[in-house]
């Protein structure tokens, strides 16, 4: 049973460029959340997707956008990259079967470095 998979594992970009990160949720999960984890800090919630729609959003600018596909996989897009966007980007999946908290399972992340 495959867990949450993210690609690529590492990525180097320059300021002003655009990047797309990908996530496949754990089998049986239908909800994907994205987090940004700066070095030495806890994950910060970016947004969550369910039924191909953004359901909740954290305090991140519009440069951060996403998409969820019919097979529940998801993409995170970041435009006009800034040096401060350098971080580990984590994808977490869960099952929205009940309208209550469900455990989130995390992938190992994509390490994004901006030069």
């Amino acid at each position: 049973d495959a867990g949450v998979t993210q690609s690529p594992t590492h990525l180097i970009k320059t300021r002003g460029q655009q990047v797309t990160l990908r996530c496949s949720p754990k089998s049986g999960h239908d909800t994907v959340s994205w987090y940004q984890q700066a070095l030495g800090q806890g994950p910060q919630f970016i947004f969550q997707y369910y039924e191909e729609e953004e359901r909740q959003r954290g305090n991140f600018p519009d440069r951060f956008s996403g998409h969820q596909f019919p097979n529940y996989s998801s993409e995170l897009n970041v435009n006009a990259l800034l040096l401060g966007d350098s971080a580990l980007y984590l994808c977490a999946s869960s099952f929205m079967g009940e309208i209550y908290n469900q455990p989130q399972h995390f992938g190992d992340g994509t390490r994004l470095s901006i030069l």
Partner: protein
């Protein structure tokens, strides 16, 4: 209101010791409190979680104590082992549809052999 405070920032214990990590929150709408363990180069892995209707939950060597009136909760690791050396994050969620999780800043635990 959305913050989760966590202490200590780092912790060093001897093998067999009982490290305790504390977290506090302000938002009374939070109703789900998980703890995650993260090793270098890996994503966070769910260890144990508690809801506010119980004061303690134990799973293996890991125990969560929860004090609803004080809005505090803590993680105890019994008989700690060098393999437990990792960064631990507490988190809180206000449930419902959105599952917006707020994470603490993390505690780096080192268990010496």
């Amino acid at each position: 209101q959305q913050q989760v405070k966590q202490s200590p920032q780092s912790l060093i214990v001897q093998k067999g010791g009982i490290p305790i990590i504390n977290c506090a929150y302000e938002n009374t709408a939070f109703d789900y409190f998980p703890w995650y363990q993260q090793f270098p180069g890996k994503g966070p892995a769910l260890l144990i979680a508690i809801r506010p209707d119980v004061s303690e939950k134990k799973e293996g060597r890991f125990t969560i104590s929860f004090n609803k009136s004080a809005k505090q909760f803590s993680l105890h690791i019994m008989d700690s082992q060098p393999g437990d050396s990792a960064t631990y994050f507490c988190a809180a969620s206000d449930g419902g549809y959105g599952q917006n999780f707020v994470f603490g800043p993390g505690t780096r635990l080192s268990v010496l052999p």
